[in-house]
């Protein structure tokens, strides 16, 4: 079976959709190819309005609740209000990934949330996480790293999750009693996970002094407003030395801000962050040369994330797997790509959330601050694989709660016949993979019996979504 120039163009489009987005919808690769791939990439790097998406999200009334409103619900007797907030928050994520035009933005919101991970199910984090993603992460995903870092450092969700609201200078309160004291959690993870990385060479003493910089950064209360507050009395005003930055005695909130300035400009941070971005967008183990170039861009542009992404996308390495996708999809990438490939209509996240749980990657629910691994290979195991195959078959048969799929319509949109398995298989292969399905896979798909339940289209589509080729991008 020969590959035509059109197929090559489709493969390039599919590659872009798989790497800068959550995968192609039926007919989409053809559409962006005819509109121009360059233009699509530029639009993704400079996201505009998406009125159709906003209309879909508008029925989820709690999405716009300010932090104080969700925190008040958290403090309320009847917890159903907060339950609705969290349900709609989860639903919005799926709707955005599946239906949003600004795919790169959604990929980066997912990426940066994971980088600055917060665990939603932990107490105050429950009402605070929706605001965290909306107010601290989303506005900065293609902006300046320092702005993103600062927004996460100050957001009450992070201040709570990494215990910084309890990180105070030890004070004597009379009667020989001491209250408060340093809590190392945020100071350590700020360096290890958010900026310079564990191999940068900082010491235990640096961790302690980093923590001291953020003493006094707190939350006014946890049950009504939940706002960030800086308490001077809780701040350790002594001199500090963190990983080469010296701060004289007498500082206040600016101790923490200056440390954020310093860390966000550190060459180790440029490298650490660039490598993670490259891991997400290019390969589980990205080439050192590409990472170096991206890190140079990071430093030269003072942490402009969209410039770093441009450097990565402009690298020859970005295209290495375009014609032989190898990078395994992590569970969320698989689920969202399957929903898109099936041309699904998402109403609620219910069935999707259950599937992600079974695959080991429930949304917003990574317990440790390291976040979920971006290495697809780390997620490849029999239990997750079985869950993926079951999800694929269920999805195509319309059996995933909260999601509607019309397999016949999806196959027709891809250019195939809904009744003939062989034609359907060829169409799905061409449209969603640029004719990238192996002969064994298309052969198997062609052998779907001409009659039976679920429909031929549902079975061919389901098996396509469960195929080995669908597991990689």
């Amino acid at each position: 079976m020969s590959v035509s120039p059109q197929d090559i163009g489709i493969r390039a489009a599919v590659h872009l959709l798989n790497r800068l987005g959550f995968g192609p919808r039926p007919g989409e690769a053809r559409a962006i190819l005819s509109g121009g791939l360059d233009r699509w990439v530029r639009e993704q790097l400079d996201p505009g309005a998406d009125p159709e998406l906003e209309t879909r999200l508008s029925r989820l009334s709690t999405l716009a609740y300010p932090l104080s409103q969700t925190v008040a619900l958290y403090g309320a007797e009847d917890q159903r209000g907060l339950g609705q907030v969290i349900d709609e928050f989860n639903t919005a994520k799926v709707i955005r990934a599946v239906h949003g035009r600004n795919q790169l933005q959604e990929v980066l919101v997912d990426f940066w949330f994971n980088h600055f991970n917060v665990y939603i199910a932990d107490g105050f984090a429950r009402p605070a996480t929706p605001s965290y993603e909306r107010d601290a992460i989303r506005p900065h995903v293609l902006g300046r790293f320092r702005d993103l870092l600062g927004a996460t450092a100050r957001h009450p969700a992070m201040v709570y999750y990494l215990d910084n609201y309890l990180n105070t200078v030890a004070r004597s309160v009379g009667g020989g009693r001491i209250v408060g004291g340093i809590n190392e959690n945020y100071g350590r993870e700020l360096m290890e996970l958010h900026t310079v990385g564990v191999d940068a060479g900082y010491s235990q003493a640096d961790v302690v002094d980093a923590a001291r910089c953020f003493t006094g950064w707190g939350i006014d209360n946890l049950r009504s407003s939940g706002s960030f507050v800086y308490r001077p009395v809780a701040h350790d005003t002594g001199a500090k030395s963190v990983f080469g930055l010296t701060l004289p005695a007498g500082g206040g909130q600016e101790d923490g801000e200056r440390l954020l300035d310093y860390l966000s400009r550190h060459p180790a941070a440029a490298r650490f962050v660039s490598r993670k971005l490259a891991q997400r967008l290019v390969a589980d183990d990205p080439a050192g040369s590409m990472v170096d170039r991206a890190a140079q861009t990071f430093l030269a542009t003072d942490g402009d994330i969209s410039e770093v992404v441009k450097t990565i996308v402009g690298s020859p390495e970005f295209w290495t797997e375009a014609f032989a996708p190898v990078k395994p999809k992590v569970p969320a990438e698989f689920v969202f790509s399957a929903l898109r490939a099936a041309d699904a209509e998402v109403t609620t996240a219910r069935g999707v959330s259950a599937a992600l749980q079974a695959m080991g990657q429930p949304a917003y629910a990574c317990v440790p601050p390291t976040g979920y691994s971006n290495r697809g290979d780390d997620w490849t195991n029999p239990s997750s694989h079985l869950a993926r195959m079951n999800f694929a078959l269920d999805l195509a048969a319309g059996a995933v709660a909260g999601v509607a799929v019309d397999a016949r319509a999806a196959v027709r949109k891809a250019g195939g016949s809904a009744e003939d398995a062989k034609i359907a298989a060829a169409a799905l292969s061409a449209d969603l993979f640029g004719r990238g399905l192996s002969s064994e896979t298309t052969g198997a798909l062609s052998r779907v019996a001409p009659a039976g339940s679920p429909s031929v289209a549902a079975r061919v589509l389901g098996l396509t979504l469960a195929s080995p080729e669908m597991q990689a991008r």
Binding site: G360, N381, L386, A444
Partner: protein, 407 residues
């Protein structure tokens, strides 16, 4: 068709492939019988993620510095309200771990209160990585210590190693097939009305591939078949054992049923996530986590009954925590942790390893409990006895005879 020889899947034992093209159900039964002859001892590792606080699990209430260091989060002495369960007049079990007391009293539970290695560091990710690959300080080790263990055991059924976790634990990184599962009872294709066709066509896609997807596909179908032939996996817990509803309970219940079902399983890994990373307000988190842990471990022992003779369970974590309470009623990352070991060959009812003490001079870097037993010596000793492994499982390190956990 070419096989990826580095996977070692079909080179082991009598030369029958347990997975992939050419797999016949009858060969699995033959393999299982062979495995039964080769050895039935099982190693179960329960890994508490997050740096569990050993000083709160097994409390050195007899140490003169303990109460000054731990202040408001210290555990009360035996006999006091909420107090620890006395072990030997110096150490006591956290009250929620009291279900383990009978194992101690029966001589089946040994406790190592100061296990570690300073090369593990105080980073969660690195410490877990170094502990699981078995090479503290070295990041380039490509396989885990349990993968190396399984590689040295005859047989290659996909059920030889089972991990109750949502992702493959790094301890198993490497070529050996491992059944990673969260719920064995539902480990099957769901396509209700067309299951045979679905499985046939999916296998046609996956079986011929030589890449990573082909590998995981074949392992998945092999696991489905192996589990479908084991109705015993669905049996209720025996001897009145009651597991807690927490995930650790479900995992250990399934671990027990895997052992009882006689699938040739030699190694089981139980991943436990929870509130162990207690930087703040640790009393409540510890109560919660130790309650389900204690109940689950005790139920496991009860459930197995006589078969506990064939099992050694080791409970460990990546590092312990600071000896002094911090400013938020919690503790920060430390060094030595507390390891538990119980089962048939354990020389129990003993504290194993020298107690280094909590005086300032005895603490590591003035803040952490020092370690007196290298974790590699403890792991090696248990693997030697349970899995019959003679050579070192730790590259660049030759463990000694071991701290004397097992006979």
């Amino acid at each position: 068709m070419r096989w990826d020889l580095s996977r070692r899947v079909f080179l082991k034992g009598a030369g029958l492939a347990a997975v992939g093209v050419g797999f016949h159900p009858s060969s699995l039964l033959v393999r299982t019988a062979q495995a039964a002859e080769a050895g039935t001892q099982v190693l179960v590792q329960v890994f508490l993620r997050g740096g569990a606080d050993g000083l709160n699990q097994v409390v050195p209430y007899g140490d003169p510095d303990y109460y000054d260091l731990r202040r408001e989060i210290a555990q009360a002495r035996p006999g006091q309200s909420g107090g620890v369960s006395n072990l030997d007049g110096y150490f006591g079990l956290h009250s929620e771990l009291a279900p383990l007391l009978p194992l101690w009293q029966d001589g089946r539970l040994a406790i190592l209160p100061a296990v570690g290695n300073y090369g593990l560091t105080r980073s969660h990710f690195d410490a877990q990585d170094f502990m699981e690959t078995g090479t503290p300080g070295i990041k380039t080790t490509a396989d885990g210590w349990l993968d190396r263990s399984i590689a040295r055991i005859a047989g290659s059924e996909v059920t030889q190693a089972v991990a109750f976790a949502s992702v493959l634990p790094r301890s198993f990184l490497g070529g050996e097939p491992v059944l990673v599962a969260q719920n064995l009872a539902t480990f099957d294709l769901r396509a209700r009305t067309w299951r045979t066709e679905a499985e046939t066509l999916l296998r046609a896609m996956y079986d011929p591939r030589t890449d990573a997807q082909g590998q995981v596909g074949r392992e998945t179908f092999a696991a489905i078949q192996a589990l479908a032939r084991s109705p015993g996996l669905m049996a209720a817990p025996a001897n009145g054992a009651v597991y807690p509803t927490a995930t650790v309970g479900s995992s250990l219940r399934q671990a027990a049923s895997v052992i009882k079902a006689g699938l040739g399983t030699r190694c089981i890994f139980v991943n436990v996530t929870g509130g162990f990373d207690t930087h703040a307000n640790q009393l409540a988190a510890n109560t919660n986590d130790y309650r389900s842990l204690g109940q689950a471990l005790a139920a496991f022992a009860t459930d197995l009954g006589r078969q506990l003779d064939d099992v050694v369970v080791m409970v460990n974590t990546e590092f312990g925590r600071t000896s002094a309470v911090n400013g938020s009623g919690g503790t920060d990352h430390g060094s030595a942790h507390c390891m538990l070991a119980f089962g048939g060959r354990v020389r129990g009812g003993r504290i194993v390893g020298r107690w280094p003490g909590l005086s300032r001079a005895d603490l590591h870097e003035g803040r952490d409990l020092a370690f007196t037993v290298d974790y590699r010596d403890a792991f090696q000793e248990i693997a030697r006895v349970q899995l019959g492994i003679a050579d070192s499982l730790f590259p660049g390190y030759t463990p000694g005879a071991g701290p004397g956990i097992v006979a």
